[in-house]
């Protein structure tokens, strides 16, 4: 089996615990002074890559784990987190603060990186919790013409470059098998990401972090979509209270539900 060269794309997003607010201009959510972290699904991707190496799950071994992020200069913080968790090196593509990349642009960028890094496995989050597009992995598989397994809850390696992936689907799980090279997107049940230990945080500072730009990959930030307006969801209307079961049935009938 070929040695794995894993590419792990990670994204800096507003921390999952922060309640986002729409900005005054209604062009997006307020990001200034808001806590950011690694997209939780990407956290799983990093963890899984490191575990594949540590538990020696791939017969050919793991040759390289490269974390990759496109974002403002602060995206380097989450790359350092990935390095502290066990990635070998990192690539940062700097995007001006406030500029967003659409999934297709990200997929094109990742395709170029895969070629440059000679990656044979890309593990990425099934979606990022900021725009919830959930498209990048699939688009990347299309551009590369590689097999893809989305929403993985289990990844197993066999002989002859075979990879078996258990996928989370509505109502159960689905098991698929493909050969390297391939794309896997991660779901919440795949693993429990670790805390970076202090010694590893310190070691991560010394690991290699390459800085690049979109132009280095021959790309521009081409937009196909235009955001017209972003608004808060309507405030939830409180429900009504009924006295008893008969009252409930009456109400349901009134609403035409029964």
């Amino acid at each position: 089996m070929s040695a794995l060269r894993i590419l792990v794309p990670v994204k800096r997003v507003i921390d999952y615990a922060v309640k986002p607010r729409v900005n005054k201009a209604q062009t997006g959510v307020e990001t200034a002074g808001v806590k950011h972290s690694m997209n939780p699904f990407d956290d799983l991707s990093v963890e899984e890559s490191v575990r594949i190496r540590e538990k020696k799950r791939a017969p050919g071994g793991v040759e390289d784990i490269c974390a990759f992020s496109a974002g403002p200069s602060k995206a380097q913080e989450i790359l350092r987190t990935a390095l502290a968790m066990g990635a070998d090196r990192a690539v940062h593509v700097e995007i001006k603060d406030g500029e967003e990349l659409e999934p297709l642009t990200v997929a094109k960028l990742l395709k170029k990186s895969v070629e440059e890094q000679k990656s044979n496995l890309v593990i990425l989050g099934k979606q990022s919790i900021d725009d919830d597009a959930g498209q990048t992995g699939q688009m990347l598989a299309g551009l590369l013409n590689w097999p893809q397994a989305t929403q993985a809850s289990k990844i197993e390696f066999g002989a002859d470059d075979a990879v078996t992936v258990t996928k989370e689907i509505d109502g159960g799980v689905e098991t698929v098998k493909a050969k390297l090279p391939m794309i896997i997107t991660t779901d919440l049940r795949l693993n429990t990401p670790r805390y970076a230990t202090l010694p590893n945080i310190m070691k991560a500072k010394k690991k290699k972090l390459d800085k690049k730009t979109l132009e280095d990959f021959g790309l521009t930030n081409e937009k196909r979509l235009k955001v017209l307006k972003v608004t808060e969801p309507p405030v939830r209307q409180g429900g009504g209270k009924v006295e008893d079961v008969d009252g409930l049935i009456g109400k349901l009938k009134e609403l035409g539900a029964l």
Partner: protein, 443 residues
């Protein structure tokens, strides 16, 4: 524990577009291991001006601490139960070696970062109990790293960093108090051993520690050339099964999760190679770490103060009386605003002292006096600011502040510790009067 942290995951679910049920199940599985931090973005402390490393430490430590919610500390306080899981979690993450050299398995960071770590621990809700459960392991190992022989280092430090051994610090005695040079516990050399007799008091974690860093007299007070040269430092095994060693837990006001003890030695034997540095140099060696400890204590006090104030401010925003939040009343808001300013000022003093301490290793223009004054001032100011914040947090809660469930009473009980230890307010005032103002010594 696992259940209470689950709620922290709710905000995530609102983002998820996929099957809601699947997500919630997965979240429940995951949360028992690794909830994300909820401390840092709630904290009131202004964090601009800190170094990237300090902020990294703050973030990473608060993640570990978020596994130990207030319910954990409340229970351990009420049951006087040692927080051994907490100590183990920090040891697993390599945190106990934060300020120890890299060649010994530490991370080689300074007191500036260790102070931030201790503040973050206290601020997480763990309070002084959490801080004290690891304090000696972080701080009392400093003199070891500096003065032990290579062989001693290999034997002691890795075990302490990994959490295999816990340490306690045996300096204070019932009949010596702050007059350390008068301490009377004797260590008499007999062949390859020292025989220890005497009594220590306020030994934190004595019941759970397997090592004690002990300051004892090797030359009688009257016979010593100078008063500072009759004491020696040891790193001894604490074998509680020996009849020559006994301990008694002291019932105390706060920090009840962590034991404090009276320790009695009656011809307790320890191999001669447990002596650290040279015989007679013990006091000097201990002095070496004192300013560092002042900084750590100041950080712990700050953490406690910010925890209490954060809680009080959120209560004052949410508690409605007379149809409006009580924080709208200036009688409630102003004392809290005042406490905030005192904490912020003490924070600057604390990290200034820590910075001086660290910088003095490479910058010879920084005098020991400057560090001493800065570190003592920081401890004093932070302890007072924490006391003010904790007391007002209780008062802002009204009657509820008296209920254990609101945690502020626990922090209030604990905030007396940094005012009293490791040196009293009055001794700091003496020191500053003498060193900074050039006034004659009064004692």
């Amino acid at each position: 524990m696992a259940c209470s942290v689950n709620s922290r995951y709710w905000p995530l679910s609102r983002w998820l577009t996929s099957s809601y049920k699947t997500t919630c199940r997965a979240i429940a599985i995951r949360a028992s291991h690794r909830p994300f931090s909820s401390t840092s973005h709630n904290s009131l402390m202004e964090t601009t001006g800190f170094t990237e490393t300090q902020l990294t430490v703050r973030q990473a430590v608060s993640e570990v601490c978020s596994n130990f919610p207030n319910t954990y500390w409340r229970e351990h306080d009420q049951n006087e139960q040692d927080p051994k899981e907490f100590h183990a979690a920090l040891a697993r993450g390599g945190w106990l070696g934060i300020a120890l050299p890299e060649n010994l398995g530490g991370s080689g960071l300074g007191i500036s970062e260790a102070t931030m770590m201790m503040q973050t621990v206290a601020e997480s809700g763990a309070g002084m109990a959490g801080a004290q459960s690891i304090h000696a392991n972080v701080y009392a190992t400093q003199p070891l790293a500096k003065f032990e022989t290579d062989e001693q280092l290999r034997e002691t430090i890795p075990g302490i960093i990994s959490g295999k051994w816990r340490t306690c610090f045996g300096v204070t005695e019932p009949n010596a108090g702050l007059d350390t040079l008068r301490l009377s516990t004797m260590a008499k050399r007999e062949g390859d051993e020292y025989v220890i007799s005497g009594q220590k008091i306020w030994t934190t974690c004595g019941q759970v520690a397997s090592k004690m860093i002990l300051l004892a007299r090797t030359t009688p007070y009257e016979e010593a050339q100078r008063p500072s040269e009759g004491l020696s430092l040891f790193c001894i095994d604490l074998d509680r099964t020996q009849p020559s060693l006994s301990m008694r837990k002291i019932k105390k006001m706060g920090g009840r999760a962590v034991d404090a003890n009276e320790v009695f030695f009656d011809n307790y034997r320890t191999p001669a190679n447990t002596l650290i540095g040279k015989e007679g140099q013990g006091f000097k060696i201990v002095l070496h770490g004192m300013n560092a400890e002042r900084c750590l204590l100041a950080g712990e006090a700050l953490g406690l103060g910010y925890a209490a104030l954060t809680r009080a401010a959120s209560y004052a925003r949410e508690r409605i009386v007379f149809q409006r939040p009580i924080g709208m009343n200036q009688g409630v808001a102003h004392p809290l605003a005042d406490a905030y300013m005192h904490l912020e000022a003490a924070k600057l003093a604390t990290y200034h002292a820590a910075r001086l301490y660290d910088a003095s290793k490479t910058d010879s223009s920084i005098t020991q006096k400057a560090i001493g004054v800065a570190a003592n001032s920081a401890k004093y100011l932070a302890a007072e600011a924490a006391f003010v914040a904790c007391e007002r947090a209780v008062l802002a809660h009204g009657g509820m502040g008296y209920a254990a469930e609101y945690d502020v009473e626990r922090w209030f009980r604990e905030c007396l510790v940094p005012r009293l230890a490791p040196v009293s307010r009055e001794m700091i005032l003496n020191y500053v009067g003498e060193k900074a103002l050039g006034l004659p010594k009064s004692y």
